[in-house]
Subunit: 254 residues, 2 copies
Amino acid sequence: MTALTAFSVAADAPLDTPEQLEEQLRFIGATRYHSLHPFHALLHGGKLNQGQVQAWALNRYYYQSTIPIKDAVVISRFRDRDTRIEWRHRIADHDGDIGTEGGIERWIKLTEGLGLDTDYVESAEGILPATRFAVEAYVHFVREKSPLEAIASSLTELFAPNLHEERISGMLKHYDFVNPEVMSYFSRRLTQAPRDSEFALNYVKQHAKTPYERQLVCNALIFKTNVLWVQLDALYHAYVEGHVPPGAFVPAMP
Amino acid sequence: MTALTAFSVAADAPLDTPEQLEEQLRFIGATRYHSLHPFHALLHGGKLNQGQVQAWALNRYYYQSTIPIKDAVVISRFRDRDTRIEWRHRIADHDGDIGTEGGIERWIKLTEGLGLDTDYVESAEGILPATRFAVEAYVHFVREKSPLEAIASSLTELFAPNLHEERISGMLKHYDFVNPEVMSYFSRRLTQAPRDSEFALNYVKQHAKTPYERQLVCNALIFKTNVLWVQLDALYHAYVEGHVPPGAFVPAMP
């Protein structure tokens, strides 16, 4: 398979059929998804202290809490009612409803379980600027690119369940400050993500009709892997290598 | 002076007068401008090899070449003709004109002088994804925030001349692959930046009329310092600590 740049599949990548598109997407996942990032090896292998896990959860909260905003923008791109209906449950998955819990509240259970103040987490005043730029790039992407690319950028969900399983078992095994209750975000996603990614994969296979459109789909997935990778690079630089940028969260505990 | 978060001045920062605003802005510069970043200490102190300097120039090209786009968006925010006229020369400063050189061409002299292929530099396919996110955040900021904040985000120029002087003398002294000709971008900016920053400083002092508006101005400058800082964090992580993200530039020379 041909080499990728930081942002694009090779111009000669074979993308003549929907099956070749799926093959290329799975290749991108296998080589670029953030399951491969060294920060995850530390997180899942019990190599981080509680303060470092706090930093991860604090920053990732900003990503999680932006997803329903991103999905609302995706919905806004479609005049086609069926696609809007299909996409709508994603907002509810994260926001929940009056009296029922959604993904964002489950993430707050995690940050609370780790000992972080919820007001501070929700304020986002202590996150890394790189987190903010990466997450906001995702919202801008689905607003500015084509509707096809907006859907394609969600395809990292194809690769999420394996990562979540590894995370749940790894973190429960290694950290005494983690229990199944605070990990409920991930266990819930194990059933949500496959349904969502199956729709998105079928959508792009059906609607990308030319090699050029399939290239756009691939590059949207590469873009999204960058959104995730940049967040972990920034965490690693700040909290593993110790270069916390000015004003960002400094763990009170080792 | 009160503490800043990653994104904001403290709610109780004294911002009752234009003079207090200027004082707060200069405090932000003194504590958050990227002249303080450890990557610059390495760059100006001769501690980087040519490949690392290439990586810096390659990534920074994306920032430089986006500035006229950013400034066109700033102009587009003003119905007031006088402000548009005042701002317009910034596009010319960077783009030059048919037959005359601008800042972008001067930057290409630098990347060529360092041995980089110009097509590759201009393609931006090998830059760090964090560079792209930070730079595009700047364009989005001036499009989405108030016109006052759009102007305020340029105020890092207040602090640029000292940094450029340090860079010119440090790089000429320490690197045999650098000569005055390839450093012409910076020598030219020594006269351009003070004129521009004087206008912007007077503008925000005059047009921010309440403590709340002065806070927005300060936060716009903090935002911009983050845009610059994130780029150097990403360079440091990739090319000093050796974690080059997938697909990004890998120096051919040590």
